[in-house]
Amino acid sequence: MSALVEARGLAVGYGAAPVLGDVDFALEAGERVGVLGPNGGGKTTLFRALLGELRPLAGELTVAGRCGTVPQTERSRLDFPVSALDVALMGTIAGRPWWRRPGRAERRTARAALGRVGLEQLAERTFGELSGGQRQRVLVARALVQEARIVLLDEPFTGLDAASAERLEALLDELASEGRGILIATHDVDQARAWDRVLCLNRRQIAFGPPAETLTREVLAATYGGAIVTLPAEDGREALALLPPHHCDHEHSA
């Protein structure tokens, strides 16, 4: 079986200089891969490259299948006047000629996807009024509507209570068992131990492989920058001193 995503010697960045380099990994169908690293370590940059927003500066990146994305909810605007159903329907845009609007078939698909993530009752609710976990599930439903074979989740567990996190985790298991490939950026090293593989990034690829062999003290220290991470059980939040590169622009600070 060929990989859904394959990166060989990949380097990506916003200008001429790469902010992430030496990336070599593969995402197989049915796998959940945790992407670990400090803020500014390149997780978001990798996702943007997978989504086609950034072109590789060097190396190769093959993406065999549509990418659906579940961004951090802070980024989606909570006061935007859309319902959960509207958000799910956004997944139908690419599959339609540009002059057509969503019809009955698309609405049925979107409702069915909301049903799969357990939110059929809340389809008409304003997106911003849903709880954090419900919002994540709406965005997963949007990826389902897109028929995405690859799903990228950016810190989906941040700010969720235990019950919502468990529910989301079960949903991700289900998606993987259907043969989708799941990439999950996270700070939670412990949680990543339950997944199939982990990819450790800190401006370059530190390690890639099954968590049991990969998540050694040395790898974690290299990933999170020095000796600050001493206990793997702590998720290394204290070590995250680096700012993402696009936040260092003085022009926008006022």
Partner: protein
Amino acid sequence: MTVLASVLTALGDPWDQGIMQRALLEVVLLGLVGGALGCWIVLSELSYGAESLAHGMFPGLVLAALTGIPLLLGGAAGILVAALAVALAGRVPGIGRDNAVAVVVTTLFGLGVLLALSPSSPPGIQGLLFGDVLGTSAGDLLDGAALAAVVLAALWVLHWRLLAVGFDRLSARALGAPPLLADAALLILLALAVLVAVQGLGNLLVVAVLVAPAAAARLLARRLLPMMATAVAIAIVAGIAGLYLSYYVRVAAGASIAGFMVLAYALARLATLAESLRGAATLTEAN
């Protein structure tokens, strides 16, 4: 009964005149375009851009008025130049976009005033600055209706792509809605809408119809389509109210229309404020 009858006469009276009928149609066109597109302008936080384009097109309008070519052409050329100048200035390193836009707009607006107020120019700059909704001709209405139809059709077709970009810029591209394309489309539609509205409200007051009704509707509606309908309704009602005011009290029509639109926003704001206060009060009572 006589009171009712006289009120009805007073309400119906203005519309016997051709000037007022054309003004009414112009106000409806304004409201349709301004209200609908305004929602995207407010949601995308493009108010400063709208204001800048409206001001920056001024030399184009003045040149058209001086040389006798149609205002619509002059305005279109003016907007094109303004947009190009803004695009270039935004790329000058080191001063920031906000300032770049301010520099371009100040310069172009100053240039327009210089052309319009030099002694060799005929009088009548105020019509360009503040609009002349009562001077709308049948030809103006036809042009306006054609542009309005283009804007509304484009909004209808682009709706879902604009929605995806407005909701979440960063993942919109993966959904098949490239953000830069949506930006460019909004900019072009904004230019068209300014062209429709400039006849009625003039270069300075155009931004009222593009921002105020939509900003008010945003406070009142919780979905985009109702928000657009509310904004259009507010814009048309405010426009008609402005026409009545100018008919009976003889104040400047464009200014009173713009004034009513801003007033509508202020009322909507007060209403939501009162509601949240009442909500807070019931909460404290419950505790």
